[in-house]
């Protein structure tokens, strides 16, 4: 398809597509003559992913470029390729390791992973931004003086593991290796806001079931 058609099918303006091409977020089309290039379904798919990151995820162009670099690096195995792509997404700031709450949060997070039997995640604690995010959240929690039982997190972590199993089952339905990796990134950006919305909606539903609308 031509650029005009790529624009029509994606709903992204031709000017924006040209900008993405210049920025290297979209691979060049196949040049058919001096002024015309041809684009295919892969361009359309990549354009959607770029759009998801920029429009929904509000991720800066330089970061999008970095994420795509990992998505396209087929020298890596899938776990690391998806991991590298997700880890390039914007993350929480580094926790301050001199802070007593941060050190306590590390112990709490490690104990949680042990309780859950998440042995693989346990091996990634030095490099995983998701682990760092958990530590930051736990430290904030305890610093504020909330001493809610750690058991509460175990229940939620098990539910999140069930969600992750569903995520991976879905990824496996994607036809190619590249589409699997792209779908992992797109769903990180797009599905997380839905999970949040569903969680709040479920709280409203459950609260009304228990206490009515009074």
């Amino acid at each position: 398809m031509r650029l005009a058609q790529l624009s029509e099918r994606s709903g992204v303006s031709a000017a924006t597509i040209k900008y993405y091409l210049r920025e290297g977020l979209l691979p060049p089309g196949r040049q058919v003559n001096a002024t015309t290039a041809e684009y295919d379904e892969e361009h359309l798919r990549r354009l959607r992913l770029v759009r998801a990151m920029i429009q929904v995820g509000r991720i800066p162009v330089a970061t999008v470029r970095e994420v795509l670099g990992h998505v396209d690096d087929d020298s890596l195995g899938r776990t690391i390729r998806v991991g590298a792509a997700l880890w390039a997404l914007p993350q929480v700031p580094e926790p301050d390791e001199d802070d007593a709450y941060v050190r306590a949060a590390h112990r709490e997070a490690d104990a949680l992973l042990d309780t859950l039997g998440w042995e693989n995640a346990r091996q990634l604690t030095t490099i995983s931004p998701a682990y760092r995010r958990l530590v930051v959240a736990l430290a904030a929690f305890r610093r504020l003086g909330y001493d809610w039982d750690a058991e509460l997190l175990v229940t939620r972590a098990r539910l999140m593991h069930q969600a992750a199993v569903a995520d991976l089952d879905f990824l496996e339905t994607q036809p190619s290796e590249e589409e699997k990796v792209e779908a992992a990134v797109a769903s990180a950006v797009l599905v997380e806001p839905m999970l949040q919305a569903l969680h709040r909606l479920a709280q409203e539903e459950e609260s009304a079931r228990r206490y009515g609308f009074e």
Copy 2:
């Protein structure tokens, strides 16, 4: 306790506490003489909640004041009181109802609630920001051309309902009505980042279980 002790126990500086008092985010202490006021456990609890919203939730002071107004309004039943407080938290922008994707997303969200049997949430669709958030997320999803099966959301919604049941069970362990409402707001601000972190960690764990670290 005196202001200095409130500061020590909360880890919030005396200057910041005075600022919160001036802004009406913290009720005044009991005046014991012209220059000294006495604070109690309720002040400490409220201070933690304010801190959670401002520091972790990055919520503007005017919004915090509005949320607290609902938390303190004991003329309301619990569902509405918690609802009003959570609904005052920063939300997604209004969806554009003239947009075809938004209208389709409404139909999809309503069908999802019907499938789930969330009859109460179904009654709140015109006023609930969580519902609006779901509609915005679904519209973005479909606009980008992802045609992933709606069934995927059903699984996740059921998991989120189980999390909501755990949330409400926890709230019921709080001793007073006021503490129940406060805990609902604090957990919205503090637990959501943890759920996100746990979801990502669970994805890493599950991916490594299936594909190893290669």
